[in-house]
Symmetry: C2
Subunit: 174 residues, 2 copies
């Protein structure tokens, strides 16, 4: 069994969360095990070492966990990308389509600039809508997106296609 | 000027957020600076080195940022403490009083056990209600709370008193 398969066995499948018919991949058992947490963060960092990442941008709330930890491993700064109304100062907003309705992500207007190389980190890549919105926000502020790193990729949902031209690295693929 | 005073000058005061009359201490400029972010996480970790911390418990959403980073520095695991309905599996809940109304925090029932030494991490200590709820949840699951570490302490709000008997360490005191 590969190490990825062993790690997948630690992910807890929770049926019907957050909605009926969806199987939620719960990574909290991986985070709670001290050795596994460190290993997972190493795995999520290693590809980006030596690439001059100045900032990790992570999406609230679950994305903050691997995002902050990867930022420490890469000696990068950290910027939060948040849902509407959560950031206290002036924001740049991006609205994007969901299956039903729209959603909005915000970033502080001074969070980054043209000299920044930004790695976007999240827990899960599903349809890619959230990650694509994060890419958009970073680029609108003049930053260079060096890639997207996630722990879990739900490959059937086609998130990678939505991020064409961007290097996407995932550790556990379903 | 002390280093703490220098760091305080990087905190952005945002008036009337999230409500009129409140000055919000916005730490995002500290997080976004790569050297400062690493330094802040070192400061928040150093007191707890060698104390056998097995887990860092952090409170959503802002607390996840220093929490996950401190967990990496301490080679500890990470457990999320979340608002009602956010955790996917079976939870233990704790309801606590706010100025107006009540709030609820949840933790997964299998997040920790009697062998765990748990450091609670958050961005800000204000009235202490949230931190006290986190302490309660960890203890109800049989864990030992070794302390509470925050970046900012709003000392006039008396959070420390509410956490009597618990070691509370803060870096920037207002």
């Amino acid at each position: 069994m590969s190490r990825a398969d062993e790690l997948k066995r630690m992910v807890r499948d929770v049926p019907d969360f957050p909605q009926p018919g969806i199987v939620f991949r719960d990574i909290t058992p991986l985070l709670a095990d001290r050795k596994t947490f460190g290993e997972v963060i190493d795995l999520m960092s290693i590809h980006w070492k030596g690439k001059g990442t100045t900032l990790v941008a992570a999406i609230e709330a679950r994305g903050f966990i691997p995002g902050a930890a990867v930022a420490i491993r890469l000696d990068a700064g950290f910027i939060p990308i948040r849902k509407a109304g959560k950031l206290p100062w002036r924001v740049l907003s991006h609205t994007y389509q969901l299956e039903y309705g729209t959603d909005q992500l915000d970033v502080h207007q001074d969070a980054l600039g043209p000299s920044d190389k930004v790695l976007i980190v999240d827990d899960v890549l599903a349809t890619g809508g959230t990650a694509a919105a994060a890419v958009e926000l970073v680029r609108k502020l003049g930053g260079q997106v060096i890639g997207v790193q996630v722990l879990i990729e739900l490959s059937q949902l086609g998130g990678r296609k939505r991020l064409s031209g961007i290097e996407v690295v995932s550790e556990l693929v379903y």
